[in-house]
Symmetry: C2
Subunit: 145 residues, 2 copies
DNA sequence: TAGCGGACGATAATAATTATCCTTTACAAT
DNA sequence: ATTGTAAAGGATAATTATTATCGTCCGCTA
């Protein structure tokens, strides 16, 4: 007997040309429930609850695999470590230069219009990653500045 | 006797409230001559030619000090290590997702229009940091893809 | 279901950065 | 100019994040 989740994950793996394993499935489903920009260590801690014997190396290897095969997106990092993007919508980031907190902002709320097509030097554009650097509301009220 | 450079660096230090040392002066003047986004190791290698006894730790400590006190700007990193921005003009970055090379692009060449003022959540905007993710010309011709 | 290549787990190794600790220097007050 | 003190430098140990290695085991195709 095979659950719906397992069946669809098996298909997802096939689409992306990777083998389906128990660890990968738990990893994938755990990550899907996480919000924000989890670090490998945070993912590891969560997955360990379901698969206690899992190795941190496996978490790293599969996060990379997911990113390379396009299952998840790696975000441009302002944290000190690799982070994965759990928000599937087109969006960008507001980075507080004081407390380093990173908040998502929807692309339409940003009101940015970029030139599509090609850029100087024959660079082929895949996507834009915009970081808005500034001061978040919390830090503004904290110091009054 | 004191050279003009030394005199002005002494002033710079005073303005930023930091002590003036020989190592700091050489570090500062060396970095000013470097282009692109040098890594601490690269800066270290260069400075070593002038001050062979300098320690890598000193380079790190002072790069941080320069960034914190506003002498130089830290760039959002897509390299694996901390980089300092040596281009004073308003510009953004094109990041090759294949070879990781980062090239500057002038703000006007990017042709983006941003909404100034405040964003959702009361976030006060200081500046935008745009990374254009894509494939550079070299990697395009290398694989033909 | 057999066989093989890839995946897993444990852990060593590496890279980047930071902390420690002792010596030396810069700077302000004398 | 002299000196006291806090900060800076140098050497290196420690830490953190990540990757490589390697023997064993499992998923997938024939």
């Amino acid at each position: 007997m095979q659950s719906d989740e397992t069946r669809s994950f098996r298909e997802l793996c096939r689409e992306h040309g990777i083998a389906m394993t128990h660890q990968r499935q738990v990893l994938y489903e755990t990550m899907k429930t996480m919000h924000g920009h989890p670090s490998p260590e945070e993912v590891y801690a969560r997955v360990k609850r379901k698969v206690p014997a899992i190795s941190l190396a496996t978490v790293y290897k599969n996060i990379h695999l997911f990113v390379e095969s396009g299952v998840f997106r790696k975000m441009s990092m302002h944290h000190g470590s690799v982070r994965v993007e759990m928000n599937g919508e087109a969006h960008h980031h507001m980075v507080c230069s004081r407390c380093r907190e990173i908040t998502d902002i929807a692309e339409e709320d940003l009101g940015l219009t970029g030139r599509r097509g090609s850029l100087p030097g024959g660079f082929r554009v895949e996507r834009y990653a915009v970081d808005v650097i500034g001061i978040c509301a919390k830090c503004q009220s904290a110091t009054g500045s």
